[in-house]
């Protein structure tokens, strides 16, 4: 009876029945993992968040350009939410002028710089919710090194202390788990860890 030593058991609960309650009360530091969702799926998620409240969101994008975001919002509008964007995708490629609701910046090379980016941009946008999409650029939870975990925990603790406040009460860190199952869930310093599983059914071809 040979058995490999278990590194960690992740327990997840399906929350279909309590989704409204969960989304209404979602506060603090939230890790949102997913299996390669589209930006439109993220909008659906955000629309469920505090449905009846006017909220301001600062979206720091390392994967979607502002152009793509704007285009998606035309077909998937964000209800009762004002969105400000830090575009770290186009800023790397082109010299673009900042607008009222978007600034172009170079992608941060590490989590420490990510924190600086957050702190600088909360001043002009004054958000209630900050979204970082995604932290998969900085850590792979399938095989994280000690150093990566140490840096992540330092980052989590630091943004919790410095970026969260009474009105700025939610930070959502998005993580794409397509690299593999998460062997180390960062339960320390995070208030909630959620997983969005998109199941896309493909049709069977018929002759």
């Amino acid at each position: 009876m040979e058995e490999l030593k278990v590194v960690q058991v992740n327990y997840w609960k399906e929350i279909r029945k309590e989704i409204n309650k969960t989304m209404e009360s979602l506060h603090g530091l939230v890790l949102l993992t997913h299996n390669s969702i589209e930006f439109s799926d993220l909008i659906d998620f955000l629309n469920n968040l505090r449905r009846n409240q006017q909220t301001t969101i600062l979206y720091i994008s390392l994967i979607n350009s502002y152009s793509h975001i704007k285009q998606t919002l035309q077909t998937h509008p964000l209800a009762s939410k004002k969105l400000y964007v830090v575009d770290c995708v186009s800023g790397f490629l082109l010299e673009l002028q900042d607008t009222v609701d978007c600034v172009y910046r170079r992608p941060p090379p590490n989590l420490e710089e990510m924190k600086n980016l957050i702190m600088k941009n909360i001043q002009w946008s004054n958000p209630n919710i900050i979204i970082v999409d995604s932290i998969s650029q900085f850590i792979n939870f399938t095989v994280p090194t000690e150093e990566e975990l140490h840096n992540l925990y330092a980052f989590l603790r630091s943004i919790k202390e410095d970026a969260l406040g009474i009105t700025r009460d939610t930070i959502i860190l998005v993580y794409d788990d397509r690299m593999g199952s998460m062997k180390k869930l960062p339960t320390m310093f995070t208030d909630t860890i959620m997983k969005l599983e998109i199941i896309k059914e493909k049709p069977e071809w018929k002759d």
Partner: protein, 223 residues
């Protein structure tokens, strides 16, 4: 390929509250897992109603009683008495071979037979918890037919109406997700759906095997 249907499932990590949730677990529960070993599932079972003594009826369609008894000798269940219905060795051991802690039965051919086995086990032991290991033997949620889904919902409905009561109040249905993506997970019939991700380290040899997997002759597989 054109996508036809999209379903979003929301899951919340239970890391900080799992002990409390399992202590008070009741109803019909679906537990999805990624090929969890029996020894690994003992830790999970130990957390269910951990604050008092319970009787378990364990209907096994995947492992023999002999194997599970050996595993439990190494890793015991706390505060639990367990009666097995072994549907794996059922062909080899006729009903006359039944012993105090195990009854042998032929593997159920369908959900109706499964229901009969549960009824029989409940009458014998009056358990607090019924565990079925596993549903994967009876239905594949990746590509179920309409008829299979109807029969499954009917099975869950009958279980709730005819078996779930104040004493027999927890039914745990295990399902191994290795069969593929669960396109048709029947979420409506369950009180709670849990997912257990067992993470074991990938050894160097496994990594190498994944990269340079040897081809197995078909003849040896068939043999």
């Amino acid at each position: 390929m054109i996508e036809t249907g999209v379903e979003i499932k929301y899951w919340r990590s239970m890391h900080n509250e799992i002990d409390e949730v399992l202590k008070n677990l009741e109803g019909i529960i679906l537990v999805l897992h990624n090929s969890m070993e029996f020894t690994q599932s003992i830790d999970f079972f130990n957390k269910i109603k951990s604050n008092h003594f319970t009787n378990i009826l364990y209907i096994s369609l995947t492992r023999s009683y002999n194997y599970m008894r050996h595993a439990l000798e190494q890793k015991p269940l706390n505060q639990k008495r367990i009666l097995f219905i072994d549907c794996v060795s059922g062909f080899a051991f006729p009903a006359e071979e039944n012993i105090d802690t195990c009854l042998y039965h032929k593997p159920p051919r369908d959900l109706q037979t499964m229901k009969d086995i549960i009824h029989f086990g409940i009458e014998k032991t009056n358990p607090d918890i019924v565990i079925i290991d596993s549903l994967s033997q009876l239905i594949n949620f990746s590509k179920p037919t309409e008829q299979e889904l109807d029969e499954f919902y009917s099975f869950l409905h009958d279980m709730r109406q005819q078996m779930l009561n104040l004493v027999n109040n927890t039914f745990v249905l295990l399902f191994d997700t290795k069969m593929g993506i669960l396109y048709h997970l029947p979420t409506q019939g369950f009180d709670t759906i849990l997912k257990l991700e067992i993470n074991v380290p990938i050894t160097n040899s496994q990594q190498t095997n994944q990269l340079f997997r040897e081809k197995t002759p078909l003849s040896s597989v068939i043999a």
